[in-house]
């Protein structure tokens, strides 16, 4: 897969508290907020039919299954983390055209959600949304 640029955010999964208390372990059954994992919009036909990155004009998003590893780089600071797929998401088509920027660097469209453990390694959880580059 060629490097994919876009936006990254974070999500909770597994045992947790508050609104996250009932979210479960994700589509792969392995997801935990404290693990270095991520959600990917194209894990299966069923997943793709929900996330629909194609509706945002995204092409080249490879079909990858549970456990496949991607490396995500925060384009605001150059920090990277390698994670494995544990869930389907984000729902890209709900935010088509959305941009996240820092300085002059921007990412368009939501292409990956990281667990809190992974996201907090390369960005602050309170930032919520950051431009990123993803490589396989």
């Amino acid at each position: 897969m060629a490097a994919l640029t876009g936006e990254m955010s974070w999500f909770c999964c597994g045992s947790s508290w508050g609104p996250c208390a009932t979210v479960g372990h994700g589509a792969c059954g392995t997801c935990n907020s404290g693990n270095r994992q991520h959600a990917w919009p194209n894990t299966s036909d069923a997943c793709f039919s929900i996330t629909r990155p194609d509706r945002c004009g995204i092409s080249g998003m490879s079909r990858r299954g549970c456990g496949f590893q991607h490396t995500t780089t925060n384009r605001c600071n150059g920090k990277s983390v390698t994670t494995s797929i544990a869930d389907c998401g984000p729902q890209t088509d709900l935010f088509c055209g959305e941009r996240a920027c820092c300085g002059g660097v921007c990412g368009t469209n939501r292409v990956i959600d990281l667990t809190p453990a992974a996201y907090s390694l390369i960005a602050s959880l309170s930032s919520g949304l950051q431009p990123c580059t993803i490589t396989a």
Partner: protein, 203 residues
Amino acid sequence: MTDNTLDRRRLLTSAVVGGAGLVAASALGSLAPEAAFAAPQTIDAGAPDPNFAEGRITGIAAGMLYVTGSDTALHRIRITNATSVWKLIPTGIDAAAVGDGLYARGLRMDDGTLAADAVWINIVNLQAHIVAIGKNQLHLDHKGKRIVGHVVPGRSAVSYNNTPAVTDMSMLKVGRHVQVIGAWVPDTNEVQIATVYAGTHSH
């Protein structure tokens, strides 16, 4: 484990021992909430991160948060004056309360404590759609469950597709998909809104 990690551990150990007089772990990296990162690691993708903790606070004493993880693991999280703390706003450890949820990132010390670079108390990141709008409230549907989001004057803001965040939420409409960064309120199970990212589609 990298030399950098070892250096950080030595520094944080001295910081813990030194108490209030510590030099600050920021000597090896910023400790601001937006830039509190751990050193490079060799942790496998998919594996639990030993330098991260999640759970609810069960006790607070002498710069230490006692936390029970949602998986029942017990954590001792060391707070120094170099630790950044977020609870709706950047704040201090005095804002923490027993019963709060948290995520913490730092460095696991030899004695098992997590020397925290950053602690996010009660932070939530909701993917939801708006089902009703009230006075200073957004009623959200998050994975089929209703959550009340409270607008906090002087804090809550909304970003409409990468526009700079503004306090005016009047452009939010019922049905709009949103992402909400906020602080969960344990007593009510409601949320105080920090930032709303307004989606481009409606439900």
